[in-house]
Each structure stands twice: as C-alpha cells, then as structure tokens.
Assembly symmetry: C2
C-alpha cells in the first residue's frame, strides 16, 4: 500500500476507530459525539472527511469489505480446492474466537441493522455476501465432483449455504458465547465438502 | 387462551406494537416516546406495565418466543420425520416471504443488536436457538438413519446447522430482497435431509 498522507491517515483513523465502536454498540447506537470523543478528531475535521453519519457508516463498511477480501484471499490454503474452502471457514472461526465471539460479523450486524432503511448500506453488504459466495464457488468448481460428491449439489447452492451457515453460526456463538456452535457448523461444512 | 382482562390487553397491545417497531427499526433506535406515540398508551400506564425500555424489550422477546414455538410446533407436517423438518423450514420461508423479507428474524436481529451488552436478552435468544435446535433434533432422531444417510452426521450437529443456515439465509434474503437466497439454502437443507 502506498504511504498515506496526513489527511488519509486521519480518515483511516476515523474509519478504524468508528468500526470498533459500531461492532461493539451497533450503528444506530453510535453517535457523532461518541465518534468525536473516541477518535479525538475535531468536529470540523470529521465533517471535512465525511458529510454525515451515514457517510461514515458507509465508508466503514467499504473499508472493512476491502480488508475482509484481502483476508479471505489469503485464507484459501490447502492441498485441494475443498480443503482450501474448509481452511478459509476455519480462519474466520479463529478470528471470531480471538474476539471471544464479541461483536460478531460486522457485515451480518449491518445486514440486520441497516439494510432495510438504507439501500446504499444494503448494496455494500449484498456485494460482500455475493463476492464471498463467488470466491467459494470458484474453488468448488475447480474440484469438479470432488466436493459434495454424495449430494450432487450445484456449487453455487453449496457456496451460498456455506456463507449462510457461517453467518448463522457466528450469530449463535455470539449469543451463547460458546465456540461449540460455530464449531459444529464447521464440522457439517467439512462433511458437506467430503472431509 | 384464557380471555384477557383490560390490563392484560393493554400489555399485549404494547408488546405487539413495540415488536413491529423493533423489527422495523431495531431496538436501540426505538425510543420510549416512539412506543408511546405508536401505542397511544399514556406514559404512566406504560411504566405501570414495564419498569424500563429494557424491560419492554425483554418482554417483547419473551412474547415473540412463545408465538414462535407455537408456530414451530404446528409447522412440522409431513409423512416422515425428515419431511416434517423440511416442511417446517419452508413454513418459515413463507412467513419471511409474506413480509417481503423486510424485518427478517426478530431473534436474529436481537442476537446481533442486543446480546453483547445485555445478558438477559442474550439468555432469551439463546433459549430460542437451543429449543429450535432441540425440536429439529427430536425429529432427526426419530428418523434413525433416514435423514442425512450419506453424511453420517450426528443429529445434533445437523439440527444446529439447519438453524444456522436458516438464520443466515434469512439475513441474505433480507439484504438482497431476493427470495432466491433463502430458497437456495432450503434446497441444500432438503438435500442434507435426503430429499
């Protein structure tokens, strides 16, 4: 990444700090004054970078999206396409575990909190889910009949279900604060992929 | 159900109206004054029934929980235990479709919005997920090896994954406003259950 100038650094600082607050408290529950307090950035400077709270929220999602797909690309590791997909799901599990299942998935949270009332938010989150499904599908297609050999499921259906299961499993582990829920889902995903 | 007296009717009116507001806007974004305005109930009367906004939120979840398990019990219809589980998932799909995938799942929303910061909310939502998993597991156990015959998955793992997949699928359809997402998940659940 190119070196950031002062303005870019401030913008990035605002985005990362606000992301942490949104993950902890939700978007609606995050006030501009809380963002100002947590970032230490003056109000005028904040509004120099972002026109509104919605603008900050959208930029936080875009920034997190870029980070997620960089993470995801690096997470597909293994000897076979199916092994790569399973490894990727486990990498997400580890990230969630690192945070003790507090906060959950920013995109999942945003999907539930922001998507009905703000179509710009919904678009970004939809893009995250679609690209995530497409990345998994790409590996499933590479494996030919190797994954899901018993069930004869179309790779696209299987890829979408894996993403849905991960989101639901993260949600369940977040509520129970018990890693077993997401772990159990991973076991079934592994079985689905012929592990 | 026994006939409700006037106080019980008021309480129920507050709960059902507030549930609709929470589904539309989220809990944090729902103010006491919005509840007063929507219900037409006087402030003093509201506080006669509920001590705080958290108290209302909790009672809304408890009320919705009872309704969900009544709905769920009636949704297990079919010739075999596996067919019953599939029918139940489809009944939930139909409910979501009726609302055009606006609002999503109250428990899923609450899981993401309220569970980290309020352990009483987390307990109710955890109970919903656990009981839902247990209900599905009960049918999978009845089927012996009939469900998921190819994959040799423990009924408990499979039941949990079905709940996670439904929650994730509802989330995805809510974001895309496209029934295909949850429908695709249902196809995979059907295949998992040997349909």
């Amino acid at each position: 990444m190119a070196q950031m100038n002062k303005g870019e650094k401030t913008r990035d600082h605002i985005l990362k700090t606000t992301r942490a607050i949104i993950v902890a408290n939700g978007f609606h529950n995050t006030s501009i004054s809380a963002i100002i307090e947590a970032t230490g950035v003056k109000k005028g400077n904040l509004y120099y970078h972002f026109a509104s709270k919605d603008d900050i929220g959208l930029a936080v999602l875009e920034d997190a999206k870029e980070e997620f797909f960089t993470f995801l690309a690096e997470s597909f590791k293994g000897d076979s396409p199916c092994a790569k997909v399973i490894h990727s799901c486990r990498a997400i599990f580890k990230e969630q575990k690192k945070n003790n299942f507090v906060g959950g998935c920013l995109f999942g949270n945003a999907a539930l909190e922001m998507s009905d009332n703000n179509s710009r938010f919904a678009e970004v989150i939809h893009e995250v889910f679609s690209r995530w499904v497409a990345e998994i599908e790409r590996y499933l297609l590479l494996s030919g009949d190797g994954c899901s050999q018993h069930l004869k499921l179309a790779p696209h259906l299987l890829a979408k279900t894996i993403v849905a299961t991960m989101e639901g499993g993260i949600m369940m582990s977040r509520v129970s604060k018990d890693q077993t829920d997401l772990e159990d889902c991973l076991t079934v995903i592994g079985a689905l992929l012929g592990e």
